[in-house]
């Protein structure tokens, strides 16, 4: 079976990233925005491993692990924040969390 080309991986990555961006921009639910951010990170991971395989370099793989680690930490902090916000405000609609505007 002919291996999947790098270009296809990159296209899938771009589609995923675009979905993530649109999710962040469109959704008002903080958790969904958070999931969209994760999607963007994973799209980036996909692109990294795809190019790592294309150029036979190991740095892309390593960097992917870093991104995953940071994403896990980010999820831990982010979810804790969202839970705290919900406990105090009874909502996680980001449009209602605009107290810091002028």
């Amino acid at each position: 079976m002919e291996p999947v080309s790098t270009g296809a991986y990159v296209i899938v990555s771009a589609i995923l990233f675009t979905i993530g961006v649109l999710g962040v921009l469109i959704r008002r639910n903080a958790i969904l925005m958070f999931m969209s951010v994760e999607l963007m990170l994973n799209a980036a991971n996909l692109a990294l491993v795809a190019f790592a395989r294309e150029y036979a370099q190991v740095e892309g793989h390593v960097l992917t692990f870093f991104v995953m680690t940071i994403a896990a930490a980010e999820v831990a902090v982010g979810l804790a924040l969202i839970v705290a916000i919900f406990q105090s405000r009874e909502t996680i609609n980001v449009d209602e969390l605009s107290d810091l505007k002028q």
Binding site: V21, V24, L25, I26, R28, M33, V94, D95, L97, S98, D99, L100, K101, Q102
Partner: protein, 763 residues
């Protein structure tokens, strides 16, 4: 007996203690106690002075009593101690001052009875005694000057004693001024002129001699033979007197001995960049002293304060302005007799005058001038005031003629009879005032004449309001008569002997100055007899001219008793210096180096007495055998017309000073205050130049500050605020917008990074 001299400070201390007692607890004492404390203090002083005189009787050379160090500047070589001098001259003055002072204190207890300022009066009187005794007892010119200034202060305080008493305008009856305070100020200011001269004299003495101590009186002429024994020491002394280039070198203890030595050496004194011969220097010193004498002893041209000073209470007129303070000038010249006698040999002044000659002329002119003015006064005290000026002229002329004994003798006798006359005049005034009150209680009787009335107010000092007081006030009459006879110079009263000695000194001088003085003094003596006759006849003889005089009352014994004592001394004080024994002369010779004893001259005495009797006869002709006033109320001498007015207006001296001193001074004052200070300094310089230009500059700078500086700062602030207003809108608070912003930014960055690559690849 010299140990007795150490009591000298007590003479001054006694009145000082009286002063302090009255000052601190007198307010709680009864009036009479205050008066007696002051009188006893004065009496104690007299007792100590008497004790000193007993000491002097044993050791007549006298001595100095050290009290305390005073001005001491070791580097400058200044060491002036507060020493008291006990010698026959100072003790004579102490006895006269304390003796007459005590009697006047006692008299004042009665005279000032009921006055609101009773305690203040006695505090001042005691202070005056302290000052006067300091003046006469000091052993150097500086202590003398302290006393000199202090008596001036006391004089000022006591002339202005009734400072609230207003003088009413004779036309409207409104308050026109305050005579007492005006007189006090006049006395003080006129005296400043004289004191200034005296101060300069003291400074020059210090400059020349390096000390102010009198030092021992120079050996009298008779003792010079004994001094020749030590020729070697004399030569040694002379070597130190003058330096090699002929400058005087201060070398001794006393001013007088150095003055003699300098004159003998004929050395010079450096004054600024010039050299002044010692003779000229001494002449200058003595002339400046004469200015002090004319102020304090009321001589031409500075006598004008003394007649006005009679506004003060009568005991003050008697004590300060007749008996003691005004004689300070005579005392000072007598004390400085060495300097005057040295100056007599130096002729550096124009017309061949010498400084004692100047003094003689001033004294003689004053005696004559004041004598004429006293002829034409109505105020009882004013007559006596001018009489005092005239008699002081006698004394000053006497010391100027070198008759130090005659001058001092007249000083002492005058202290007795003039104090007596003033106090008796006070008694008369007192009696007339009481009569005035009684007359009001008893309105019956003839219509009141109004000679001396001012707006319905009786002037109790105006002799026109008196007359016939002989029966009403017999005690006062008799003592007044004794005083008047003594003053007029009738044998055997005190004034005859002392005045005769002065005339004799003028006669025996023999030069032009002597003759000039003799003629003027003779005339003045005749005038004296005339105006005293006029006064006695106007006051005590004839019919009472007002109800007040008709109801006059004799004064209480506390006032008349001191008068009797003074009258006794006025009668017999001439025996102090009885021709033949001359005990007073020999007594003074111990301390006055150049005193000489004048012999009695029968012809001169007869002439003077004859003139006096003739003058009294004329006075009786005008004022006794006819009514003392003409029918229209004018004086018998009023027929003199213009001359009468000239005399009545006191030779227009006050107007003269008004013209040459007061008006120019006021003019200068007005110019300085109005033009220079008001118009120029205040209005122009301050208001226009400084204030207004500052104002203008401030207005300009204020505008600059507000518009330019503040504008720039505020503009920046405004700019920031405006920018913030627009930029604020970016902060919506919607996190998705921020995310979109990040996205856009990322895309832009991407383009910026990738575009060059694309361009490079496509190129």
């Amino acid at each position: 007996m010299e140990g007795l001299f150490n009591l000298a400070p007590l003479v001054i201390l006694a009145p000082a203690v009286g002063l302090l007692i009255n000052l601190f607890i007198g307010g709680r004492l009864r009036e009479r106690s205050v008066g007696w404390i002051a009188s006893i203090a004065a009496g104690t002083s007299f007792v100590f002075a008497a004790v000193l005189s007993f000491g002097l009787a044993r050791s007549p050379a006298g001595g100095a009593v050290y009290v305390t160090d005073w001005v001491k500047l070791p580097l400058a070589g200044v060491d002036i101690a507060w020493d008291l001098r006990v010698d026959t001259l100072s003790v004579t003055m102490m006895l006269a001052v304390a003796g007459v002072g005590t009697l006047i204190h006692v008299y004042a207890i009665g005279y000032m009875h009921g006055d609101a300022g009773f305690r203040r009066f006695f505090v001042y009187l005691n202070l005056f005694l302290v000052a006067m005794l300091t003046l006469v007892s000091g052993n150097n010119y500086l202590v003398l000057f302290v006393g000199w200034e202090l008596v001036g202060l006391c004089s000022f305080l006591l002339i202005g004693f009734w400072l609230h008493k207003p003088e009413r305008d004779p036309e409207t009856g409104e308050i026109a001024g305050y005579k007492n305070t005006a007189a006090a100020k006049k006395a003080f200011i006129v005296n400043r002129v004289g004191d200034f001269g005296f101060l300069l004299a003291i400074l020059l003495i210090f400059w020349t001699f390096g000390t102010l101590t009198y030092g021992p009186p120079v050996a009298a002429h008779g003792e010079e033979d004994g001094a020749h024994g030590g020729a070697a020491t004399l030569a040694a002394q002379e070597a130190e007197v003058a330096s090699e280039d002929g400058l005087c070198v201060p070398h001794g203890e006393g001013v007088f001995e150095m003055a003699e030595a300098f004159m003998a050496a004929g050395c010079d004194v450096k004054l600024g960049s010039s050299r002044v011969p010692i003779g000229a220097m001494i002449t200058l010193i003595t002339l400046l002293m004469i200015l002090g004498v004319t102020g304090k002893s009321a001589q031409i041209p500075l006598f004008v304060w003394l007649p006005d000073a009679m506004a003060g209470p009568t005991p003050v007129s008697a004590l300060i302005h007749a008996a003691t303070m005004v004689t300070a000038g005579v005392y000072m010249v007598t004390r400085s007799n060495v300097l005057y006698e040295l100056a007599r040999g130096v002729s550096v002044l124009p017309f061949g005058l010498t400084s004692p000659g100047v003094l003689t002329i001033i004294g003689a002119l004053t005696a004559f001038m004041a004598g004429t003015v006293a002829l034409a006064q109505w105020d009882i005290k004013r007559v006596l005031a001018f009489s005092t000026v005239s008699q002081l002229g006698f004394m000053v002329a006497a010391v100027g003629l070198g008759g130090y004994i005659a001058g001092m003798f007249h000083l002492v006798t005058h202290a007795f009879f003039k104090a007596l006359l003033f106090l008796s005049a006070g008694s008369v005034i007192h009696g007339v005032e009481h009569g005035h009150h009684h007359a009001h209680d008893a309105p019956e009787g003839p219509e009141e004449k109004t000679f001396g009335y001012r707006h319905g107010v009786l002037d109790p000092q105006d002799m026109r309001n008196m007359g016939g007081l002989r029966q009403k006030m017999p005690a006062t009459f008799w003592v007044y008569l004794i005083g008047a006879l003594a003053l007029a110079g009738i044998v055997p009263f005190a004034g005859f002997w002392s005045k005769d000695e002065i005339l004799l000194d003028a006669y025996s001088r023999g030069d032009a100055t002597g003759w000039f003085a003799l003629i003027l003094l003779m005339t003045a003596a005749a005038f004296t007899a005339f105006y005293m006759g006029r006064q006695v006849f106007m006051i005590f003889f004839g019919a009472p001219r007002t109800q007040a005089a008709a109801h006059a009352q004799e004064s209480p014994p506390i006032m008349t008793r001191p008068l009797v004592v003074l009258a006794f001394f006025s009668a017999v004080a001439g025996f102090l210096n009885w021709p033949g024994t001359h005990s007073f002369g020999h007594w003074l010779q111990e301390s006055v180096a150049y005193a000489h004893i004048a012999d009695f001259n029968l012809a001169l005495a007869l002439l003077a007495t004859l003139l006096a009797l003739l003058a009294i006869f004329f006075a009786a002709l005008l004022y006794y055998w006819r009514p003392a006033l003409r029918a229209d109320g004018a004086d018998r001498l009023g027929g003199l017309g213009r001359l009468w007015r000239f005399l009545n207006r006191k030779w227009y001296w006050d107007e003269f000073y008004e013209l040459i001193a007061v008006q120019p001074f006021n003019g200068i004052g007005r110019f300085l205050a109005g033009r220079l200070d008001g118009d120029f300094l205040h209005d122009w310089f301050h208001d226009t130049l400084i204030w207004r230009s500052f104002d203008r500059a401030a207005a300009f700078l204020g505008a600059f500050d507000l518009k330019i500086i503040d504008g720039a700062v505020n503009g920046l602030g405004w700019l920031a605020a405006q920018a913030a207003r627009y930029l604020r809108r970016v902060q919506t608070g919607y996190v998705r917008q921020y995310a979109l912003g990040v996205l856009v930014g990322a895309i832009v960055l991407l383009f910026i990074l990738v575009l060059p690559l694309l361009i490079a690849n496509s190129g």
